[in-house]
């Protein structure tokens, strides 16, 4: 039980930490007004990422002001055209987006591509997990894959909307196991709550979601995580990776920031520097820890290379799923 005094003390401590960093941050070039474009509604993952970036940049004195614009809709497909056209050439502006946008642009058959923006940095990722109710006969991912091979229609799996990251992950698992991706029995639910309820109520055989959503259920003994999609074992998580179990799948639901097309090289370099610096601060590490985000910082040209490869990879799996 957290007492109030304890909490107040904690908040005061955080304040002191931010104050202590003040002089150091002042050495960096300060941006007067950073404009942030979030192609999603307030409250979602991209919005939280954007607002966390804002909080850290402000606390470290890297920016004086931040203006946030939300344009929600269709996994970012409504916002992207606005960012590409209306924000063209504006330095000091950033869009927050991620893997979900790559997927939804392809699945929605949008003529636009995320690669039309200027990639600045990849910041965080959430790996996904495959989980079953505790009473399930599946003890590990191998059991699951064996059942999938035997008859995919007998293994309904719950997750978010069709073509989203959960579906992509299941498709990758099926493909790695030699089952045609489009043959898997995927039950799409509107939102994490209803999908989790179906899993907890054992209405489905398994569920796919970001690991963070399962963590508390696992702690309470209601669910068992069969595998996670990370590249290696994670601290504090008692679950093997898919790769360890012979299923060659690695997937991060990553999020990053992008500049609009047409910005000058100097503006781009300044943004890359500012964001890289932010990603290295202890405040950012603290935010990521609170939110269960894994830091996977990758900036500038390396990010661009990654992005190109990722678009190709996602397009491939969505084709296998019959969605591209």
């Amino acid at each position: 039980m957290i007492s109030r005094r304890h909490f107040v003390a904690g908040m005061a401590g955080a304040g002191a930490l931010a104050a202590g960093l003040g002089p150091q941050a002042a050495q960096a070039q300060t941006v007067d007004l950073l404009k942030m474009f979030i192609p999603a509604a307030p409250g979602g993952g991209w919005d939280q990422t954007g607002r966390s970036i804002e909080a850290v940049l402000r606390a470290t004195g890297a920016v004086n002001g931040v203006q946030i614009t939300n344009v929600p809709g269709a996994g970012g497909a409504v916002g992207l055209p606005q960012f590409l056209n209306n924000w063209r050439g504006q330095g000091n502006s950033l869009m927050v987006a991620g893997m979900v946008m790559v997927g939804s642009l392809i699945a929605n058959k949008s003529p636009l591509k995320i690669t039309q923006t200027v990639p600045i940095a990849r910041l965080t990722g959430e790996f996904l997990a495959l989980a079953v109710p505790t009473a399930s006969p599946f003890k590990d991912a191998k059991d699951f894959v064996a059942a999938l091979k035997a008859d995919p229609t007998k293994v309904p799996v719950a997750g978010g909307s069709a073509g989203g990251s959960d579906h992509i992950m299941l498709g990758m698992i099926a493909k790695a196991a030699g089952v045609p991706a489009a043959r898997v029995s995927y039950v799409a639910f509107a939102g994490g709550g209803p999908a989790m309820a179906a899993l907890l109520g054992a209405q489905v055989a398994a569920g796919v979601s970001g690991y963070g959503e399962f963590a508390e259920q696992v702690k309470a003994g209601k669910l068992r995580v069969l595998a996670i999609s990370a590249d290696k074992r994670q601290d504090g998580i008692d679950a093997p990776t898919l790769k360890e179990q012979g299923i060659d799948v690695e997937l991060f639901n990553w999020r990053g920031v992008f500049a609009p097309p047409g910005v000058s090289d100097a503006d781009r370099a300044a943004m890359v520097a500012m964001i890289s610096k932010m990603a290295a601060t202890p405040q950012w590490a603290e935010v990521c820890k609170q939110r269960d985000w894994t830091q996977i910082t990758l900036a500038g040209d390396a990010y661009k290379t990654f992005l190109d490869a990722e678009v190709t990879r996602i397009e491939g799996i969505l084709k296998d799923l019959g969605l591209a």
Partner: protein, 503 residues
């Protein structure tokens, strides 16, 4: 910690002067945003999330809880006065509520809504405190097959709003179902009826349609008939608040509405709209004053649905607090606020954060009392609004509808949709089509479809699943008997009458 001890702890947390102030701020802000169509509690709380960096968690959640309950209260006010529902769960309220308001009983409608909300909110919050684990176990038994059965049951309620002609009522229903299907198909990711417009990919907001049909459509209709018609608004007839008879007529609906709202709200895919439909239907069937429904406005049709939507708002918190499951947009945002305090919401939340959870529950009780105290005296003021001359009132309604639609999303598509639906609403009114079935179809159609398809995928194509699962079968039997029994009953009555005539 059991319920009683928990509540004592909770009140200890919530009753500090600072937290009471947060509660007051929250309920006031909640009422204000609940009034506006398009701006709901989810978006407001999301915009206020940065506050979590500045205040302690108890205060933040007390504020959020106040906004959440306050929005439910506020939503009914504009539904009743202006026929402009602020939230999808108060659409049903506007059907009888606005008719009452036009016939001089706005005060009574607002009062029964406020008191009903209070009663339902209080019972619902007691439910959270004492019944949550039981309700959750039961709610998890509902799979897609059961939800589909529930949708079928809810669909039968459309018979209460078909109006004078089944053909025109069902035309409106199918129109609504079609509107609901627009957008990306959840199960297969295919765009349906979007005509390539990206803004339609996430579907059409039911609030835009409700405000368009009700408020814009009616304004157009009144403009067209204003000069010749005698149907002027009567601001007040009789006492300001409720008469003795109106109290008597409200109590049953409040309780029944609560009994629909709380359990269905607690179901992970239940939602707040379905209990309001079920309540409306029930009250229309049970009332001793059926002639008032759809004409001068029946108080039962306000009391029941309002209680149902507030009880369901309490119900939504059950899976959130017991399992960490967000089953509505607002719950999802509140859970992400937990995270920014480093608290991981889940089944263990009550054990690890009892002060926070019980403080939240206690503040729901306090918020409910505050809302009642805030709202009842305001009724006199609200009723005066109906004395505004018609030109200004209708112009105000249209500007108001525009704020809610364009102001929040800044989407031309939404604004154009609002006005086009308004024109359709005008035509429907002029040619005697009921508009309520459009809303029912739009909400239930896609839900029924998705649950049907989820159930069929899970069962690998075996359609008997709806009849072999006991819960699902039970609900379907109830639905079918709701349709058939009244027919048999009236046939029996008819033959009895003939027999007695023959004698």
């Amino acid at each position: 910690m059991d319920g009683i001890n928990g509540l004592i702890t909770g009140f200890g947390v919530a009753l500090t002067p600072m937290n009471l102030l947060w509660c007051l701020v929250g309920t006031t802000l909640g009422t204000a945003i609940g009034v506006l169509p398009g701006l709901g509690p989810a978006l407001t709380i999301a915009l206020l999330l940065p506050i979590t960096f500045k205040v302690e968690p108890q205060a933040a959640f007390i504020l959020f809880a106040g906004i959440y309950y306050g929005a439910m209260y506020g939503g009914s006010t504009t539904s009743i006065l202006l026929n402009t529902p602020g939230e999808s769960s108060s659409i049903v309220t506007s059907m009888e509520g606005n008719k009452m308001a036009r016939n001089g009983r706005a005060g009574a409608a607002l009062a029964t809504a406020a008191i009903g909300s209070f009663v339902a909110g209080t019972i619902g919050t007691l439910g959270i405190a004492f019944l949550a684990p039981v309700v959750v176990d039961w709610a998890l038994k509902f799979g897609p097959a059961e939800y589909f059965a529930l949708m079928i049951l809810a669909f039968t309620t459309v018979s209460a709003v078909l109006g004078s002609s089944a053909v025109r009522g069902l035309t409106a229903l199918f129109f609504g179902i079609w509107l609901g299907l627009i957008g990306i198909d959840l199960q297969t990711g295919q765009a349906r009826f979007t005509f390539g417009v990206q803004e339609l990919f996430d579907g059409i907001n039911v609030i835009v349609v409700a405000v368009g049909l009700f408020a814009v459509g009616e304004t157009l209709y009144n403009a067209a008939t204003y000069k010749n018609s005698e149907t002027k608004i009567t601001p007040l007839k009789g006492s300001l608040l409720m008469t003795k008879l109106e109290w008597k007529r409200s109590i049953g609906p409040w309780i029944r509405g609560t009994l629909f709202g709380f359990p269905i709200g607690a179901m992970p895919a239940g939602g707040a709209e379905i209990p309001t439909f079920l309540s409306y239907y029930t009250e229309k069937k049970l009332t001793k004053y059926p002639e008032e429904f759809g004409t001068t406005g029946a108080i039962e049709g306000v009391a029941g649905p309002e209680a149902a939507n507030n009880a369901s708002a309490a119900g939504v918190l059950v899976p959130m607090l017991t399992l960490g499951l967000p089953t509505s947009a607002t719950a999802a945002i509140m859970l992400s606020a937990f995270q920014s305090y480093g608290i991981n919401p889940g089944p263990l939340l009550l054990q690890t954060q009892p002060a926070l959870v019980w403080g939240l529950i206690a503040s729901l009780f306090i918020g409910n009392v505050m809302l009642l105290v805030l709202n009842l005296p305001l009724i006199g003021l609200w009723v005066k609004m109906l004395q505004i001359p018609a030109p200004l009132l209708y112009a105000g309604i249209l500007v108001f509808a525009t704020i809610g639609t364009y102001g929040i999303s800044q989407s031309y598509i939404d604004l154009i949709l609002l006005y086009v639906v308004g024109i359709i609403g005008y035509l429907m009114r002029r040619y005697d089509f009921p508009t309520a079935p459009v809303i029912i179809g739009m909400i239930l159609g896609p839900l029924a479809e998705q649950n049907f398809r989820q159930a069929m995928t899970i069962s690998a194509g075996d359609w008997t699943v709806f009849f072999t699962r006991p819960l699902s079968l039970t609900i379907i039997v109830i639905a079918v008997s709701l349709v058939i029994v009244p027919k048999i009953y009236s046939m029996a009555k008819e033959s009895q009458r003939r027999q007695s005539l023959a004698r």
